[in-house]
């Protein structure tokens, strides 16, 4: 292949919003049969670029070429007609409709009088599903499918036209390892058909496994394109954030205190069984496992959001009964939940009110909430956690992910908890703020808090934890100390390959 024509080329795209230059002269070209990674921190301009490509936004300057033909994209439908299709991170499927109806939504084959040609619909759908090699058929109700299979439906939808370029936006965010393999197979097949692929992801592992070239955006600017085979993670990270991220091991140097929380044989139906562990003051206990291994559910049970079907929870060596978050909070257990926006924050409220939410009951003067006491707490934790906000009146929804997470953490710290459980501490947080949150977790342990960190990112778990509990399918497989753990042994443990238990 000498100088093949790019299936898709973006040239000097500029997109400005009032006060912001969201895209500042971005160029990108995708060759046929190429998997081209697009990377950048949150807010770097990836989504905006994809919206321009999909015709949702019109660029102020620059041009889009499809097979070197200048094209103006007017809408996602138009883009699809031109052979540019998107597989979005968030699935947009109608649960109650069948697979076939979802795939051909908006373009159902018709007979006379506007009647749907069901026979053709199901036949066409099954033909597409066959190429994807999936285990369900055209008549299946989409709501009955697993997330991974629903994603396959999304992909099938992209294949109703002969695509020239397919854009995958964080496709593996909610997939298990086995499901990823299927997805990667599909991508390889598309590649073989000379389709150009843009692959947006934060996960270095996948990027290096799957892609041919990597283009990096930072602050809306094009930072360069690297050939995957000739580069490494450090170089990419540096392009993304302008410096490299320290994820070296950092075991505690301080003395550990007494056992703060102990869990014995805790079970909750099918979600997890006979889970036992303990965490001491000053210690960070990491929980690592695949999505669905039961980690979040354990945290929710300890926090009183789920009723256990067996086992005990001991706090300071005494058994406690926790039936609601109110009990948990009273006993000094706090949970920084997995989904910050849906579970942790009242997005429409200001920073101060969010931070004092659990204890506003105690901050009263007469019948009224005491402004002074609240602001004092906010100021204290804003300084302590280095929360960057113009002031406490700022609506939390307007803060960056990192600062939002610090508000949630501050909320619990101000309650002086015994145990702090942090579920996915850095999900959706840009690389720069990640290390801040990591340092914060380490610092909290050093101050004597017992901290439990649940994470799907192995480097993160390895970086912050003193001990790591590996989970597989609802059970604790093995516990590692920071000294003995290796990436390999951890991967084996969470994939259900039982490591030798010679700890």
């Amino acid at each position: 292949m000498t100088d093949p024509i790019p299936v898709l080329r973006l040239e000097d795209i500029v997109k400005t919003f009032p006060g912001v230059r969201a895209l500042d002269g971005v160029s990108l070209s995708v060759l046929p049969g190429e998997v081209h990674a697009l990377m950048g921190e949150n807010g770097a301009g990836k989504s905006t670029l994809m919206k321009v490509l999909g015709g949702i936004l019109q660029p102020n300057e620059g041009q889009i070429f499809i097979e070197e033909e200048p094209t103006v994209m007017t809408s996602p439908m138009h883009a699809k007609a031109k052979g540019v299709v998107f597989i979005h991170q968030e699935l947009s499927l109608a649960d109650e409709l069948s697979v076939a109806e979802n795939i051909f939504l908006g373009e159902l084959p018709l007979k006379s009088m506007g009647r749907v040609d069901w026979k053709k619909l199901y036949a066409d759908t099954d033909a597409i599903l066959k190429t994807l090699n999936v285990g369900f058929d055209a008549r299946t109700r989409v709501g009955d499918l697993s997330i991974a299979n629903q994603q396959m439906v999304e992909i099938a939808r992209a294949l109703t036209v002969d695509p020239r370029a397919v854009i995958f936006d964080e496709p593996t965010a909610s997939l298990t390892d086995a499901e990823k393999v299927v997805l990667f197979d599909v991508i390889s097949e598309l590649q073989a058909k000379c389709v150009g692929i843009i692959y947006i992801s934060h996960r270095m592992e996948e990027i290096f496994k799957m892609t041919d070239r990597i283009s990096v955006l930072r602050d809306g600017q094009y930072r360069g394109t690297l050939i995957t085979a000739d580069t490494n993670e450090d170089e990419v990270t540096q392009l993304m954030i302008g410096r490299s991220l320290d994820l070296s091991r950092s075991a505690s140097e301080h003395e550990l205190g007494d056992v703060a929380l102990e869990v014995r044989d805790l079970s909750c139906g099918d979600l997890f069984r006979n889970v036992s562990f303990s965490v001491r003051r000053g210690e960070v206990l990491g929980f690592y496992g695949l999505v669905g291994a039961g980690r979040t559910e354990i945290a929710e049970t300890i926090f009183g959001l789920r009723a256990p079907t067996g086992g005990k929870i001991l706090l300071n060596r005494e058994e406690v009964r926790i039936t609601s978050p109110i009990d948990a909070i009273r006993h000094g257990i706090s949970l920084v939940p997995e989904d910050r926006k849906a579970q942790g924050l009242v997005l429409g409220m200001n920073c101060r009110d969010n931070m004092t939410l659990p204890q506003v009951d105690d901050l009263t003067a007469g019948p009224f909430v005491s402004d002074g006491a609240e602001v004092a707490i906010f100021d204290q934790y804003r300084d302590k956690l280095d929360i960057r906000t113009p002031g406490w009146r700022q609506t939390v929804g307007n803060l960056s992910g990192g600062n939002q997470q610090k508000i949630v953490i501050g909320k619990w710290l101000s309650m002086r908890p015994e145990v702090l459980i942090v579920d996915e501490p850095t999900r959706g947080i840009d690389v720069g703020s990640k290390s801040e949150i990591h340092n914060l977790i380490r610092a909290l342990a050093a101050q004597g808090y017992a901290v439990i960190v649940i994470s799907s990112e192995m480097p993160e778990v390895l970086h912050v934890s003193d001990r790591i509990v590996a989970m597989f399918s609802g059970e604790v497989v093995r516990e590692f100390t920071a000294e003995e753990v290796t990436e390999d042994s951890l991967i084996q443990a969470i994939s259900g390959i039982r490591g030798d238990k010679v700890a």
Partner: protein
């Protein structure tokens, strides 16, 4: 107050000013009477007439901030009115002379509190959506009104009561005072107390509120008690003067109250809104009614115009508050 909130909550007051100017000017040319629209007495009367729906709308604001809705307020209003007027005719009450008045008020208010508590308990304990629960209780409570006295109006005129209701203190009518005091108390409740704070939090993100250890159920329940109380307070204020209640009275009040609340900028989805803005919404609607009447429009036209303005205002609000311009227009 930040610039943002002033802009958002100031909208309804700007709208009121526009209405005043428009009707004053238009009145010069179109009015059948030669009285100016912005006549002082006229404005005082307007506030008084705003009171019945206004007091209910204040309660609706709290309910909607909390993320719920109450469709049964009109029926609660009617049933409380029946209790108020009928109880004064009971033999032991009649024997008490004018002392029966506070007792009758107590009965009426208690009725509202109980009906509200029933709604609240149902929403809390069954987990059924407030829309459905109160749709049911709207029908049920209205049924109680008809069971009480059939199709007949319930009447009792107590002149002491009428004098009280028609009294003016510092120029404002009794009903206006009730509206203003209720608004002030509720404004304090929502902005300065734990209950208010938690109500906003629950309406904005119920799951986060639960995770913060807030007892969601009791807060919801108290808000329903509160709106029940306010609906009956509204009945007390209105029927002390009129002295006669028809079994169909108060119908559609829930929708007028919601209209005022929404016009004031409170969100149907919960978590956002303000008592003071609702007061603005109530006054804006009453101004429209009066103003259109002033320039010679009939009742049917008034409703049409209010409906159109409601939609126009919310459309405008959506345009102004749309986050960026990334939202798809389909």
């Amino acid at each position: 107050m930040t610039k943002e909130t002033i802009l958002k909550q100031g909208g309804i007051w700007a709208f009121i000013v526009v209405e005043l100017i428009f009707f004053s000017v238009a009145g010069e040319y179109l009015s059948v009477s030669d009285k100016a629209f912005m006549d002082f007495d006229n404005m005082l009367l307007l506030l008084k007439q705003s009171a019945p729906i206004g007091i209910i709308a204040l309660g609706m604001t709290i309910i909607m901030i909390n993320g719920n809705i109450d469709l049964s307020v009109g029926a609660t209003f009617a049933l409380s009115a029946v209790v108020l007027l009928d109880s004064m005719t009971w033999p032991f009450m009649a024997a008490m002379g004018d002392w029966s008045i506070p007792l009758a008020w107590g009965f009426a208010l208690l009725t509202g509190v109980i009906l509200g508590a029933v709604n609240g308990l149902l929403v809390w304990k069954t987990g059924v959506d407030a829309f459905i629960v109160t749709l049911g209780s709207m029908l049920g409570y209205r049924g109680l009104v008809f069971m009480y006295n059939g199709e007949q109006p319930t009447s009792h005129l107590n002149w002491t009561l009428v004098d009280f209701a028609e009294a003016q203190f510092l120029g404002l009518h009794t009903a206006t005072w009730f509206l203003l005091v209720a608004a002030f108390v509720l404004w304090f409740l929502m902005t300065r107390t734990v209950h208010g704070r938690n109500a906003y939090a629950i309406g904005n993100n119920r799951e986060a509120a639960v995770n913060a250890g807030i007892r969601v159920g009791p807060h919801i329940m108290w808000n329903f008690v509160l709106i029940g109380f306010l609906a009956s307070l509204s009945a007390v204020v209105f029927y002390s003067e009129s002295g006669s209640v028809n079994p169909n009275d108060g119908m559609l009040y829930e929708l007028w109250a919601i209209t005022a609340v929404v016009l004031g900028g409170t969100k149907l989805t919960g978590g956002y809104g303000s008592i003071i803005s609702t007061l603005g919404g109530v006054i804006a609607i009453q101004l429209l009614r009066k103003g259109l009447g002033h320039i010679g429009a009939d009742t049917e036209t008034v409703n049409l115009v209010i409906g159109l303005i409601l939609i126009a205002v919310l459309f405008l609000d959506r345009q102004l508050n749309r986050k960026g311009k990334e939202e798809l227009k389909i």
